[in-house]
Structures are given as structure tokens and as C-alpha cells.
Symmetry: C2
């Protein structure tokens, strides 16, 4: 529209990415078209292709970017706390944000997991492997921080890449593998109960090890 | 064959179940036929149907039975240890057996997970939900033991169903969600390293909580 204010590149990127996330979350990858994404974002379809390339490339960015941003923010806040700071609060804040993000993006994470587990060589399976690799690489940043802060934060005997994988895997399992883990005959635990249990397991699991 | 020794009902059941597990593990659910299972077991196909009903029913039993037996054995051994026994050894033994069983049955667990995540109403998706519910019910037995032995084993502040779900979910995530958690640019951790990390997280995660 000629009357619209000219949008910056960054604003257009945000609009397209936001529309893609909304549609992938609601409808899944397969049912979402770049045309729909363009319409929801209020831009021409060519703008989507110009900015992000193909639909698979857009899915990769849309799935990973929120996690990357979240982990980056968290690492920055971790680095800014004083030595001997409140580790319980630090863990609880992370797990709270992480399970919210997992729940919000559950559909996209499930699409990736299911495609990757199918073991075939479809476009979606290959794409899923890329998304998972991006995700796993982002976790490496966390394990580097854990390694660096080891002594300062009274940790000892950790295996940083695996300590991060185990702690975050526990949170992922309660969101993505919940049907394996939660008895269908019992009341489903709410988010507060899950947060309390995960925080206790990770806090004590990390901080009471004999230094090796 | 007229020359063969007559097999007992239990022996035939073992033969069919063993053949089904082998083929489901190697080929997955979809590619395995009841005819193949009968041939591998050395019985007539009608015997398979007589003993187990349909292929879906056989898959359900074949997937769940090893886990049920393992958890049953473990609970029996837990109950037989003296109060104040070696909790670290108890946890390590369980996790060792559990990740072996998960790895061995990875293909069947992935088939179930992928089908259930697809969200459709296919026969395999419905079947997968049954398998997952059986599995989750078996975990409830463990949480009942944890609840009963709480004080005796120096635990406190646990949320037994969720403590079990979190600990076992952590192990499941490292076997089934490993592509999300292990950086592809780094060396893949071996079973011993995974066992050490999981044992430490669960042992300290469970035993150092303030009693509430």
C-alpha cells in the first residue's frame, strides 16, 4: 500500500518470522505454505523468498531462533551474576523459560523429532536433522560457560557437555516424551510442579558431587 | 514336524515373542509381517494369532514386556536390600540396565514416539498410545516404592511420580532425543560416560533435598 510507512529490513524480517512461527506452531510444517506466511505477515511472497530462501530454510530459522536467543540471554545473565550468587534462582529461571519455550514450540519440535526418527531421507527428515544440529550446537555454549564457571560456582566432578545434555534432556522429555512418563490414570502434573521437581533434580544433581 | 519334541505353551510364547522382538527391532513395525514372525519362530502363523491376537497386540506385548519384567525385577531387588544400603549402586545398576534396554529397543520406541507425535488417528498412532500408557503405568510402580521407602532411604522433599518421570525421562532423552542434545561437532559420549553422568544427577538430585 502506498499509504503505509516504509518498513525497515529488520521489521520485515520480524514480521515474516513471527507469521511463520505462528503458522508452524498451529498447523505444523506440512500444512503451512509460504503464501500463507506472506499473507499473515502482510508482505508479498517474493519478500519471503528474498529474505529467507525456501520454506525449509524458513522453518529452520523459525524453530531455532527463539532457543538461540533465549540461551544467549541466559548466558549473558549468568555471566553478570556475582560469584557465589543464588544458583537455585539461576537454574529455576532458566528451566521456567525453557519449558515455556518448549511447550510453545512443541508442535515444531515434534514435527522434527518424528521426521528424524522415521529414519528416511525425505526433505523433512534432512531438514529436521539440521534443526537438531543447530539446537545441539547452541547447548555447547552453555556447557562452555559451565566449564568456565565450574570452580567459582562450587561445582565439581561435572562432565559439562553431558551435564547440560542430561539437565535439558530431562526438561525436554517431560514436554516431548510425556506420554511415556505420565501415568494416564493419574492427574497430570501442572507446570509449577514440573518446575519444582526439575529445579530440585538439577540444583542438587549438579552441586553435591564430590570433586574428582 | 512329527519328529520334534512337543513344546509347552510357555516355550511357544517365548519363541514367538523373541522372534517378534528381533524382527521389530531390526525392521521396524511396518515392514514386519506375522508370517515372518511365524517363520522365524518356527511355528505356524495360526499359532501366532492364537497366542497373541493381531499384529498390533503382539507389538504391544513385545515392546512393553521387557521393560515390565526389568522394572519388576528391580523393585524386588530394591525391596530386598537392607535399610541404609548402597543407594548409589542401586541407582547405577538400574540406569545401566535401563539404558541398555532402551538402546536395544530404540527402533520400537522410536516407531511409537514418531507415530504418537504425528497426531493422526492411524492404527499405529492408536497402538503407540497404548504402548506408552502401559509403559507409564509401569513407572507408577516405581514411584510407589519410592514413596514407601522415602524415610528409610534418607530421601526427603520428593514428588515421587515426577521424581521417577524426571530421572527416567533424562535417560530416555539421551537415547531417544540424542540428536537434539549431542553436538554433532564433538565426540559422541560412550555408554560409560552417560552412565556416570546420569547416576550422579539422579543420586545427588534425589538425596540432597531439604525435607519439606
Amino acid at each position: 500500500m502506498t499509504s503505509s510507512t516504509r518498513r525497515t529490513t529488520a521489521e520485515v524480517r520480524e514480521l515474516v518470522l513471527g507469521a511463520a512461527q505462528q503458522l508452524f506452531r498451529e498447523q505444523g510444517y506440512a500444512a503451512t505454505t509460504t503464501k500463507q506466511i506472506a499473507n499473515t505477515a502482510g508482505v508479498a511472497e517474493t519478500v519471503v523468498f528474498d529474505r529467507f530462501g525456501t520454506k525449509p530454510e524458513l522453518f529452520e530459522v523459525a524453530t531455532i531462533e527463539p532457543f538461540r536467543a533465549f540461551i544467549g540471554d541466559y548466558i549473558a545473565s549468568w555471566r553478570s551474576i556475582p560469584r557465589g550468587g543464588d544458583i537455585e534462582k539461576l537454574i529455576k529461571t532458566f528451566i521456567d523459560g525453557f519449558i515455556r519455550l518448549l511447550s510453545q514450540n512443541r508442535r515444531m519440535l515434534q514435527d522434527c523429532t518424528a521426521a528424524s526418527m522415521s529414519g528416511d531421507n525425505s526433505a523433512m527428515a534432512r531438514l529436521s536433522r539440521l534443526v537438531q544440529q543447530d539446537f545441539a550446537r547452541a547447548l555447547t555454549q552453555m556447557s562452555e560457560v559451565l566449564e568456565g564457571e565450574d570452580a567459582a560456582l562450587h561445582f565439581g566432578g561435572l562432565d559439562p557437555p553431558l551435564s547440560v545434555a542430561a539437565g535439558l534432556g530431562m526438561a525436554m522429555s517431560l514436554v516431548l516424551l510425556d506420554d511415556w512418563l505420565i501415568d494416564p490414570d493419574h492427574r497430570r502434573p501442572g507446570r509449577e510442579r514440573i518446575l519444582r521437581e526439575l529445579t530440585a533434580m538439577i540444583l542438587h544433581g549438579l552441586t553435591h558431587r564430590p570433586s574428582s
